[in-house]
């Protein structure tokens, strides 16, 4: 369980995130949605201890993210940022192998190699595993980054807009992978999404944010309401029942 208690981040007098109070239950996928500047990424980065909060406390599996040793946290929590750029030239397999660092401190054992292979195969990168990252397309590279964080085998996986720059087919494929990771490997996935319909189709819970506050948190059925979404995004949004569940039309 991820517990956020009164977490605040103040960027400037006008830009304040929080105080946030929420408990994200274990297992399944939770989507963070909301307009630009609502504080979705800030919240995710604070949970992932990449951004210091100014006040409050965040517990992941009862470990305080600010006081727990980074090395211990790395075994239960991982986060993937939106932009990833590395100066070193790495192959897909070397990149995914870094995911084992918290467990092996860089000395890959036979077991580690098997785990690396498992996630490379899981994200369908088997044929590409010895390509350098700069030889891949955007979608393939994104899959490699996701393989890297999954390979860390942490209970909690945080992803900041993993669908960025992906076309529809790649985005659907990525969400399928993530959902399978959540169920097959029993991970708790928290993902920032821009597309409400992706959130509605793949997530178990949706957390909607607006103006640095949590506007609503609940199951897909509870959040996919025309008045609620119209208010959050400040646009007219209708909900119709589609073949796979509610669909937002805007």
């Amino acid at each position: 369980m991820i517990q956020i208690r009164n977490a605040r981040k103040w960027y400037a007098e006008e830009v304040k995130i929080g105080p946030l109070n929420i408990e994200i239950p274990k297992a399944g996928m939770t989507a963070l949605i909301g307009p630009n500047g609502a504080g979705k990424s800030t919240t995710l980065l604070m949970i992932g201890r990449l951004l210091n909060m100014d006040e409050g406390q965040i517990l992941v599996a009862n470990m305080d993210v600010t006081t727990t040793k980074s090395r211990d946290l790395a075994k239960i929590l991982t986060i993937l940022r939106q932009e990833n750029h590395f100066v070193t030239r790495l192959t897909v397999r070397q990149l995914v192998g870094f995911g084992r660092f918290p467990h092996s401190q860089g000395r890959l054992t036979r077991e580690d190699e098997e785990i690396i292979s498992r996630y490379i195969d899981f994200l369908e990168l088997t044929d590409l595993e010895h390509r350098f990252l700069d030889e891949l397309s955007g979608g393939q590279r994104q899959r490699a980054y996701v393989a890297m964080v999954l390979c860390q085998e942490t209970e909690y996986v945080l992803l900041d807009e993993p669908l960025n720059n992906l076309d529809i087919a790649r985005a659907v494929q990525m969400m399928e992978h993530l959902r399978r990771a959540a169920y097959e490997f029993g991970r708790t996935i928290v993902v920032v999404l821009h597309d409400i319909n992706f959130a509605a189709k793949y997530a178990d819970r949706i957390c909607a944010m607006k103006h640095g506050q949590i506007a609503a948190f609940g199951t897909v059925q509870e959040i996919m309401k025309p008045e609620l979404l119209s208010d959050i995004f400040e646009t007219n949004i209708d909900i119709i029942e589609g073949p796979y569940g509610p669909i937002a039309v805007y």
Binding site: G48, R49, L50, K69, S70, R71, D72, L73, A74, K75, T78, I79, L80, R81, N84, H85, F86, V87, T88, R89, L90, T91, R93, Q94, V96, G97, F98, G99, F101, P102, Q105, G106, R107, L108, R110, E113, I116, S117, D127, L128, E129, H130, R131, F132, D134, E135, L136, S137, G138, Q140, V149, Q152
Partner: protein, 357 residues
């Protein structure tokens, strides 16, 4: 083009020649294929051999006295001082620059940016300016060596400590302030130099251009153990450096305490740079040149392999350049000027063709 290729799934032959162990197990090694690993070891062996041949040449070639003469050994001993200082310079600059570029995740900067060389030039210029030529000439020996080293390490520690641990601690701010301090110190010493008599200026100039002839054998008992210890620690630090080079966020995600580790690495860089600078003087682009070439030559991200390659390249360049200039071109030109020139051109070329970084 490459994007299209990969989208269509057309595999290249080298990617098919995947590294697998003899049992066919898949593994994530430092090299992409066994072929690249072989290429690395061959290149490393050739470079080390070049360095050794050049140093033997430097020691023995053109010896004015015959081999059986009793003064043969003293001549070799005197030349050995220069060769050892080349060894120290190659170790210091290769390890310091590669480490610095990795922890800053930036391959177009060198630790010289933090103002060590400017500080060195201020120390020397102000000695001459304030205390005169007699004091300057006697400002040599263990005391001055240790003083210069301690000052340089202290300044960098203050800089790192202040800028990396504060609330707004940030590496880029530190680099910027380092550059500004360096520029400020340079103009201070430039101003003092302008007021010197020509003869004094000449005296100073020889010390401000890096040269192995500046090195004195009496410093070695201190310099060598320090350098060996720092290099050994950095080599042990390789696996962490591999992760640190992925940047702050990724390193933190993998449980590496970024700030602590980066300060440790930078302290070792400061130690190496100050030993080298106070021993032989500034060599601004040498480390950059060596690091640049070693990334191309090693073709791996793994520091356990990049470090030896960088050292081998640095040592081969230094000994080779000195041997050619001293014994073949019979030129007394200061080698560091040539290295700086070549390094500067490589620096510009790399900047303009940043794709190949």
């Amino acid at each position: 083009m490459s994007v299209l290729d990969s989208e269509l799934g057309t595999d290249r032959s080298e990617a098919d020649a995947a590294p697998r162990t003899r049992s066919g197990r898949r593994y994530a090694g430092a090299f992409r294929s066994a072929k690249e690993a072989r290429r690395y070891w061959m290149l490393l062996a050739v470079l080390l051999a070049l360095g050794i041949v050049a140093s033997i040449g430097l020691l023995l070639y053109n010896n004015p006295v015959p081999v059986d003469s009793p003064s043969f050994i003293p001549v070799v001993k005197r030349r050995l001082t220069a060769v050892i200082s080349m060894l120290i310079a190659a170790l210091c600059h290769s390890f310091a620059t590669v480490t610095f570029q990795s922890v800053t995740s930036n391959r177009i900067i060198t630790p010289s940016l933090l103002g060590y060389e400017a500080l060195y030039s201020v120390i020397n210029t102000s000695t001459l300016y304030f205390f005169g030529a007699t004091a300057f000439v006697s400002f040599i020996g263990m005391g001055s060596f240790l003083l210069q080293m301690a000052l340089m390490i202290a300044v960098s520690l203050v800089l790192y400590g202040w800028l990396l641990t504060g609330k707004y601690g940030n590496l880029h701010l530190m680099l910027l302030i380092g550059i500004i301090i360096g520029a400020g110190l340079n103009s201070v010493s430039g101003f003092m130099r302008r007021l010197l008599a020509p003869s004094e200026f000449d005296l100073l100039q020889s010390r401000l251009i890096g040269s192995v002839t500046n090195a004195k054998a009496e410093y070695f008992p201190i310099a060598v153990p320090i350098v060996v210890a720092a290099v050994f620690l950095l080599f042990l630090f390789s696996r962490k450096l591999n992760v640190l080079s992925l940047g702050k966020d990724t390193a933190t995600t993998f449980g590496v305490n970024y700030r602590t580790n980066i300060i440790c690495a930078l302290v070792l860089v400061a130690v190496l740079m100050s030993v080298s600078t106070s021993l032989i003087g500034p060599l601004t682009f040498f480390g950059f040149l060596v690091a640049m070439l070693s990334y191309q030559a090693a073709q791996t991200h793994d520091h356990r392999y990049v470090f030896p390659m960088a050292f081998a390249i640095g040592y081969a360049i230094l000994t080779g350049a000195y041997f050619i200039l001293y014994h073949m071109l019979n030129s007394a030109t200061v080698v560091s000027v040539v290295i700086e020139l070549v390094g500067g051109i490589v620096f510009l070329t790399v900047l303009l063709r940043k794709r190949s970084l």
